[in-house]
């Protein structure tokens, strides 16, 4: 669907060269909600703008539905852009046009007949739940309503792809959830492939199916959201995940636990079906030891369960060791080191 092939983008700022995107290869499949996460300055905004060539790559190519977009003429590119809807952090609505006028704009560009424009605008307004706001101007709307107009405008020409530039970053948590629900609906109902960038792990966690983590212009980790969340490789990825799910007690609590003479702590991860089975109690009972859950959570990601438990084992040291060995064959277990971060 969208494929970045060894794409780099270098900006020249006076005499200094800024490598915003470095050798990125990434594949977004049809129907994905693909999230790119990174701290500000990681290059994700530039990467997103390479999709519709608002920025041109310095090296590499971008293929959309098998076509190398960098080879398109100016006119072909304008046509291609009608197939890629885009929404923005600051909505970027035309203040001189009404809500209906904003949504009609891309249709006018595409040369759609007037009566068709009217029906389509009404349809879109109903879809985003703003049927009563057609004649309002953007400055009369709330942030969430503005983004709904932005989404309706981006969908007007029935694009195959929707790209979202920090679409929820300017919204409060409730409105964010609304807009994310709407994006999910867009993906499900119209089969539109979504590529979004964000610095908020909640966004990735709640809507994305795939994720790529960017740092200093490079993609340092990518894959299915469930896999990346349950088995992060890179420190930056771990930091992002930690921002939405506390997978360890805070360092102070850990220190207290050790001072009070608490034993070794182990982290167990249960992914998918294992989370439904009583692994801990079965194994500990078998070896004649008991366990104490110190900390933990079970959550849902991509409609699969993911458990993260911090436990200590009580009983004969040899039996504990045997039990840990057996648990290791069933699911992930590791000893919690002093203080990880």
């Amino acid at each position: 669907m969208i494929e970045f092939k060894q794409v780099s983008k270098t900006f020249r700022l006076g005499k200094r060269e800024v490598h915003a995107v470095k050798d990125v290869s990434l594949k977004v499949e049809q129907g994905d909600i693909y999230g790119i996460i990174g701290f500000s300055g990681a290059g994700k905004s530039t990467l997103l703008r390479l999709v519709n060539l608002l920025e041109r790559p310095s090296e590499g190519s971008i293929e959309i539905q098998g076509v190398d977009v960098t080879s398109l003429s100016a006119k072909e590119l304008r046509k291609q852009r009608r197939n890629i809807g885009m929404i923005f952090q600051n909505f970027n609505l035309f203040n001189s046009r009404t809500v209906a006028g904003n949504i009609a704009y891309p249709l006018k560009l595409a040369g759609t007949p007037k009566h068709e424009i009217n029906t389509r605008v009404e349809e879109l307004l109903r879809f985003v739940g703003l049927a009563d706001k057609a004649k309002d101007y953007p400055d009369q709307l709330s942030g969430g309503q503005k983004q709904r107009v932005g989404i309706a405008r981006a969908l007007a020409t029935n694009p195959d792809i929707l790209i979202c530039d920090e679409a929820t970053s300017a919204l409060d948590p409730d409105t964010t959830a609304d807009v994310l629900r709407l994006l999910k609906q867009v993906n499900r109902e119209f089969g539109i492939t979504i590529l979004l960038i964000t610095h908020e792990m909640e966004v990735i966690q709640s809507v994305c199916t795939k994720v790529a983590v960017m740092e200093n212009g490079e993609v340092i980790e990518s894959g299915g959201v469930f896999e990346v969340f349950t088995d992060p490789q890179h420190t930056t990825t771990k930091r992002f995940i930690h921002s939405v799910q506390q997978d360890l007690p805070s360092p102070n609590v850990l220190a207290e636990w050790r001072e009070s003479g608490g034993g070794s702590l182990y982290r167990l991860k249960f992914k998918g079906p294992v989370a439904n089975e009583p692994v801990l109690s079965t194994v500990t009972a078998k070896h004649g030891i008991t366990f104490n859950i110190v900390y933990g959570s079970v959550r849902e990601l991509e409609e699969r369960l993911f458990g993260n438990l911090i436990v200590s084992f009580l009983g004969d040291p040899a039996a504990v060791e045997a039990a840990i060995r057996e648990i290791a064959t069933l699911t992930d277990i590791e000893e919690v080191q002093e203080i990880e971060r």
């Binding site: 608002l54 590119l77 046509k79 923005f88 203040n95 560009l109």
Partner: protein, 220 residues
């Protein structure tokens, strides 16, 4: 040595008409030229939709050369050109030519300033929707900047009323001419007061019209 007001009023009315003609004609010609130049200045800027260093620098330098020249000096300096274009250097038509040139450069800057204040994100959004540069100029830049632009043009109009008086002193006709010949050279304070009052009324009218129009456009 006071003027006979019964016969003088028609002259005042005629002069007011000349002033209004000069201002409106200049405003129309100057706006056409100025808006084109202002748009060119904006779109040819670095990183803008039709970036062109040559066009930008050329316009920028020409505007910066003309703008600081005091109008009365400019008026005299280009009189040969005025004669060439209009056929004479005396009268209302002859005043409109230099006024238009100066006004268009001023309007170019006003337009540029208003366009710069448009959120670049809005232009980016139009590009992302597949709008061509020309399309962006007419359907995004002009409508988005129109409210402040009308206020800017109102400001220029008030300056033009001032310029028309200056042009009047060197044979341009209008209220400036009357004020100079009767009020200044013949020491008739009553003529001076009347012309000044009429000029004040004209300025007020222009400002009121501009404010109303821009408020309507900006919906506030």
């Amino acid at each position: 040595m006071n003027v006979d007001w019964t016969t003088f009023w028609p002259r005042i009315i005629e002069a007011t008409g000349q002033t209004i003609t000069m201002v409106i004609a200049t405003l129309i010609f100057g706006s056409i030229l100025g808006i084109i130049m202002g748009l060119l200045l904006f779109v040819t800027r670095q990183n803008n939709i039709l970036e062109n260093k040559f066009v930008f620098n050329l316009l920028n330098i020409v505007i910066n050369i003309i703008r600081p020249v005091p109008f009365i000096i400019f008026l005299v300096a280009i009189s040969q050109l005025t004669r060439l274009v209009v056929g004479t250097t005396i009268g209302t038509a002859a005043a409109i030519f230099p006024m238009t040139i100066v006004a268009s450069f001023t309007i170019a800057r006003v337009v540029e300033n208003n366009l710069v204040s448009i959120d670049p994100g809005v232009i980016e959004a139009a590009q992302a929707m597949g709008a061509s540069p020309l399309r962006i100029i007419f359907t995004v830049l002009i409508p988005e900047a129109l409210g402040p632009l009308v206020l800017g043009l109102t400001f220029v109009t008030v300056t033009l009323i001032d310029f028309s008086a200056v042009a009047g002193t060197v044979g341009g006709g209008g209220l400036g001419h009357i004020a100079m010949t009767y009020g200044y050279q013949r020491f008739d304070a009553s003529v001076m007061i009347v012309t000044v009052l009429i000029l004040i009324v004209l300025v007020q009218l222009a400002q009121w019209l501009g404010n109303t129009l821009s408020r309507k456009i900006m919906r506030r």
